[in-house]
């Protein structure tokens, strides 16, 4: 059988991913995680001395803590299999990427193993996040200097 013919056969046999269902699942799980995050934020605002502006830090820390518990117990990957992007995109997904790498590489020691591989999956997020933030700020600065927008 020729290559093109086989590729055609493969296209026919391979099941298409259920995009709509996946989108719905991601939407609900992602929304749920964000709702929990909002609840955590409100908790810090009401019961502690944080304002809306300053509650971001402890909220993210708490969400990453939850992600750590779920990852360590092996539950986050089950959520991930169900929700896909819904659990990968929020900060809990970032936490899961870093923590799962840390757990995995413990056997090679703390410095080369854990330290060297901690950002194996999340490194791109950190790098491109910082780089894009730089460029966005640069563009805004140029636009303000020209006078198109104001701070």
């Amino acid at each position: 059988m020729e290559k093109e013919q086989y590729q055609q056969l493969e296209q026919n046999v391979t099941p298409k991913p259920p995009y709509l269902k996946n989108v719905a699942k991601a939407f609900f799980v992602g929304g749920l995680i964000c709702a929990i995050g909002q609840a955590v934020s409100l908790f810090y605002i009401i019961f502690f001395n944080f304002t809306e502006a300053t509650a971001g830090n402890p909220t993210v820390a708490t969400m990453v803590f939850f992600a750590m518990l779920l990852t360590g117990l092996g539950l986050y990957k089950r959520i991930g299999q169900f929700a896909g992007a819904g659990s990968a995109v929020p900060v809990t997904g970032f936490g899961n990427a870093v923590i799962s790498a840390a757990i995995e590489h413990r056997s090679e020691g703390l410095v080369l193993g854990v330290g060297g591989n901690l950002f194996k999956l999340a490194g791109s997020v950190v790098l491109f996040g910082v780089v894009s933030a730089f460029f966005v700020a640069l563009i805004k600065y140029i636009l303000v200097t020209i006078g198109v927008v104001s701070w």
Partner: protein, 129 residues
């Protein structure tokens, strides 16, 4: 026919009951301040706490206007500064400040303590991390 009408009336009644604009402080220029705030249609609720020359205006911006929260806060601040140049006015759109201001009104804190509380909340609102 009567049941839905009753429900609607009760709901509307409930809406009117909630105090949306509260002014709390020793003297009675409350209505003036309230009118000033009601002029701004982006404010959903507000609680003003004042003592002598120190005034704290805590507002909650309407949902869709929240995108411009910082700008509206500054606008309101300028407005108050123009109206009351001899007073030390601080405007905040932060939920925490609003919540604490309501607590002050609920606990009916008076005099010196009130002054301290206002200063405390002003410092809190200025925190960045």
């Amino acid at each position: 026919m009567t049941l839905p009408l009753l429900v609607v009336l009760m709901l509307l009644n409930g809406c009117a009951e909630k105090e949306k604009f509260i002014v709390y402080g020793p003297s009675q220029n409350g209505s003036e301040v309230e009118a000033l705030i009601k002029e701004e249609d982006y404010v959903e609720r507000s609680t003003v706490i004042y003592y002598d020359d120190s005034m704290l205006v805590a507002v909650q911006i309407k949902p869709w206007e929240k995108w411009k929260k910082a700008k509206l806060e500054k606008k309101l601040q300028k407005k108050f500064e123009e109206k009351y140049p001899n007073k030390d006015v601080f405007v905040s759109a932060d939920y925490k400040i609003f919540y604490e201001a309501n607590k002050i009104k609920k606990d009916q804190i008076e005099d010196n303590k009130l002054n301290d509380k206002i200063t405390e909340l002003k410092d809190l609102a200025k925190e960045e991390t």
